[in-house]
């Protein structure tokens, strides 16, 4: 497991999300995953897609249970709200404190990021309150012996298609913020702070990209297929009854 981190330290974030703590000595990935009751296959695929943006075995990822996928997505949301966003806020705050010539400008950035934070919260809340519960319900119905009418009714009020269409590109504003700092903001006095802030913004943007890719290319197609099969089975059962 230590090799995984040595190979690419970005994987640390993923370890955190699976609740794996450092200090595992020379244990293998398999052993550590067993200890933390983590699905090894799933863990490995997630780590690999996270560190290599060209690696994305969507067909294989779609074979994992919905609960594993949404749990991981949920933990990633928590990471954004509890670690990444506060870190960026802290850096912006420090920039305001340390800057005398263009406090006003940086206050603008702060407002911009604050709005962004709201947007991000709304985005993840909607997924947690509506989308994830829906996907779990679909999987449950898919795995049960007979299709209950309530699922069909549920599918009439919401569908994964709706999610796909309403799922907005949450990275766009971050991209703007980066560009404003890189291209247009008069250089603040404390360059170190500014670089650190940029680094955090890049990292959050990349993380969000990876996250949205799992939502759109793993969760959505997986659920869409289940919806189809459920509908077919339901009409089949009705005929036989």
């Amino acid at each position: 497991m230590a090799d995984v981190i040595h190979l690419n330290y970005f994987s640390l974030a993923v370890l955190n999300r699976f609740g794996i703590k450092l200090g595992f000595g020379d244990k293998t990935v398999d052993e550590v995953c067993k200890q933390y009751k983590v699905d090894v296959d799933f863990f490995l695929e997630i780590v690999n897609t996270f560190v290599d943006k060209d690696y994305f075995p969507k067909k294989h990822l779609q074979t994992f249970p919905v609960k594993l996928i949404t749990d991981y997505l949920q933990k990633t949301h928590n990471d954004y709200h509890n670690i990444k966003v506060p870190e960026i806020e802290y850096l912006i705050e420090k920039m305001i404190d340390s800057c005398f010539t263009q406090k006003d400008n940086i206050v603008l950035l702060k407002k911009f990021f604050n709005d962004y934070k709201q947007e991000l919260q709304n985005h993840t809340r909607r997924e947690e309150e509506v989308v994830f519960p829906y996907t779990l319900a679909i999987e449950k119905a898919y795995n049960s012996d007979t299709i209950d009418k309530s699922v069909i009714e549920l599918m009439e009020t919401y569908s994964i298609e709706i999610f796909q269409n309403e799922h907005d590109n949450i990275e766009e504003k971050l991209f703007d913020l980066k560009n404003i700092i890189i291209k247009y903001l008069p250089q603040p006095k404390d360059l170190k702070l500014c670089n650190k802030l940029l680094h955090e913004l890049f990292s959050l943007e990349q993380d969000l990209n990876d996250h949205a890719r799992i939502e759109e290319k793993v969760l959505v197609p997986k659920i869409r297929e289940m919806e189809q099969i459920i509908t077919e089975r339901f009409s089949g059962e009705k005929k036989n009854a």
Partner: protein
Amino acid sequence: MPKSSFIIIEKSYLIRKGLISLIDKIPNTQTIQQIDQTDDLKALKKFDADFVIINSNLIHKELIKTLMEASDTFQLILLSEDNDSVPGLSWVEKIDLNESHNSILKKLNNAVGNKINSQAKTSTPDEISDREADILRNIALGYSNKEIADKLFISTHTVVTHRKNITRKLGIKTVPGLTIYAILNKLINIDDQSKL
């Protein structure tokens, strides 16, 4: 200078990888998306790519329609084994799968070069014109496309075109982002707007 961006639509992982490594050799370029099957084409609308490289095997009727509708935003490069052309679509370059390293590189370079030349004609690429500054000021003040069109006596379509150009030149897409730019560059006053 803005980077030239590529989307690659190709089934084979090896060919995609190969193309990416060739594109990487050309300065000021980037591959923003790889697609291995055509049902992922939602991305074409989402990303503003300059070039779309596509394998002729993956082209079908519906795709031609999508490509034609969106074709003013990007240029097409064909990837094929037999160099046949596809009706209704125009290609800036055609790459044969059996072609040599140098010859492919040359074609990609040509495509990118053409793009830079056509941009150079429209004044300096990164600076926005007075008219665009006008529009930008109004966007930052919170006016909609329709309102701006009425105010400046131009069509909404023209406003949209200006907005696209502004976004391309500045690299800023969202209204709040454009607003900050407008304030930093003193196009508007901080107190002028309340929407931010």
